[in-house]
């Protein structure tokens, strides 16, 4: 199927779920891309995975009682995030240990709850691996508003997030409330996960958070450029992934993640400064003066 036919399908009224899926997928990737930058820079990938699993019992409850999935997932994710933040204050246990406890517990709870619903296997699969059909109109608004809220919060708290990511002790000495900001960041991660679960699924959502930010990190040494590139890479991959998935009748979540992974690998090999090719060229040729990584890369140019 050509890209043109794909756009025609997007406008086809009988396929109205398709533009909705595209909107949700693109919005999710943008929000996840921005939030993911902090996660990649702070080494929070494991926390992201945890949150992705932690929202599951909330989704399950919402599904069983027929409530709003975004709301249910958010509540469950926030409760888990708070539990982790509080229990991690105990110096005897490392944070990743506490996470390991709650993350699996939350997921287990989700499985038990959802098994109470009729048609359990199908809905479980839909949660775990995502589905582009069946996004209700109301979710469009919820996803849009939630996404805007997350982005606005990041815009307002950016300098605090940077300060606590660089060096927590000095941030405390400056009178910054590190604990509260950590909680806010966890909540933002939770919201990003919850709005993304519909299209990409519970397990694969981690890729939406981590891969675009990791790719952007390979391409630049500037935080601003990174936080611009990550959502762009995510959104383009979501569009491309949805197109491929629709054309070849392949699972959407899986294809989007694979598209992101290809982008990551391209950056790994072709990034202007840190890429393998650039390194090989530098080591064979004369040493070049340090130049800033440009925000554009061969990969992005090829894509546009």
């Amino acid at each position: 199927m050509s890209l043109f036919e794909f756009f025609a399908d997007l406008l086809n009224p009988s396929l109205s779920f398709l533009p909705k899926a595209l909107a949700v997928a693109v919005m999710s990737s943008i929000v996840c891309g921005v939030v993911g930058c902090y996660m990649v820079l702070r080494g929070m990938a494991f926390i992201g995975d945890t949150v992705a699993h932690a929202v599951f019992p909330g989704l399950a409850v919402a599904f069983v009682v027929g409530g709003n999935l975004v709301l249910g997932g958010t509540i469950a994710g926030i409760i888990t995030a708070i539990l982790i933040a509080v229990f991690a204050q105990n110096r005897r246990l490392k944070e990743d240990t506490v996470i390991g406890v709650f993350f699996v517990a939350a997921f287990a709870l989700g499985i038990v709850i959802i098994s109470q619903a009729p048609g359990y296997a199908g809905s479980l699969q839909q949660f775990l691996f995502g589905s582009i059909t069946g996004i209700p109109d109301s979710d469009l608004y919820v996803v849009g508003i939630t996404g805007m809220l997350v982005l606005a919060t990041i815009f307002l708290l950016h300098k605090e997030f940077v300060s606590i990511s660089l060096d927590r002790e000095s941030a405390r000495a400056l009178g910054i409330n590190v604990f509260v900001l950590d909680l806010v960041l966890y909540v933002l991660v939770t919201l990003a996960v919850v709005i993304s679960v519909q299209t990409i699924g519970n397990i694969l959502v981690l890729a939406l958070l981590i891969t675009p930010a990791a790719t952007a990190r390979l391409l630049t040494d500037r935080l601003g450029a990174m936080m611009f590139l990550a959502p762009v890479i995510g959104a383009v991959s979501a569009l491309l992934g949805l197109y491929l998935s629709w054309s070849f009748d392949l699972p959407t979540g899986g294809i989007i993640v694979l598209t992101l992974t290809v982008a990551f690998l391209l950056a790994w090999f072709f990034a202007p400064r840190q890429g393998l090719i650039a390194k090989a060229r530098r080591s064979t040729g004369t040493e070049q003066p340090a130049v800033q990584a440009s925000p554009t890369s061969p990969m992005l140019e090829a894509r546009q």
Binding site: L41, R42, R91, L156, L157, K159, E160, V162, S163, S165, L166, D167, E169, S170, A171, R172, A173, L174, G175, I176, R217, T220, D221, R222, L223, M226, A290
Partner: protein
Amino acid sequence: MTITVETPLLNVADVSVELSGRLVLEHANLRVDRGELVGLIGPNGAGKTTLLRTILGLLRPAGGRVQVSGKDSRPGRTPIGYVPQRHEFAWDFPISVSNVVMTGLTGRLGLFKRPNEADWHAVADALERVRMSDLADRPVGQLSGGQRQRVLVARALALQPSVLLLDEPFTGLDMPAQELLTELFTDLAHEGRAVLMTTHDLASALFTCDRIALLNRTVIASGPSSEIAADTAAWMATFGVGAESTMLRILKVR
């Protein structure tokens, strides 16, 4: 020398600190006056970092008080510049030198506020002071150890603090970098700040610091470097070594 009853810039008065039920500092007394570089020396686990954290107001003393210019220390309210050990900082973060220095103003700027021109001037001044202006746009990950240490000092200076706390600034640096920094710290102190520095480098501390404080759970001795160097008993008490230890012999050689 005339004796004045001026309140010291930094006054640690009879401070005891408890960490998870254990008394780490007991009745510690220390004062650092304007224009002084004071070296804080003690073995590992003596409570040096604990003392610094207490001065910053991050730990609440179980007894006694910490005052800066006569006022109790509170995080974000007291003009103290803090330079942590280099490994505490995320050097792989994609951020430029000047933006790191700007984070020193985060607390004062307050929530939701963006830096204005005066703030960027403060950053430029701080970078100028540590002679890093020409590297202002460089990503911090590309700096050498000595340059990184100077960035951290500039970040602490951005708030124009009257008290500066340095935690092991020389660890892992080569001699030229150490000497450059020593000169900087001496100048910063003699310009009218109170500078307190923890260090493991006993010999160079005795040469460069105006005063030395020996710490092991409390301040065992403090005074002008030459006096402290001669006080064999205090060194033995602080480090738990015998009269014939290599460390004491090195001290006597100077």
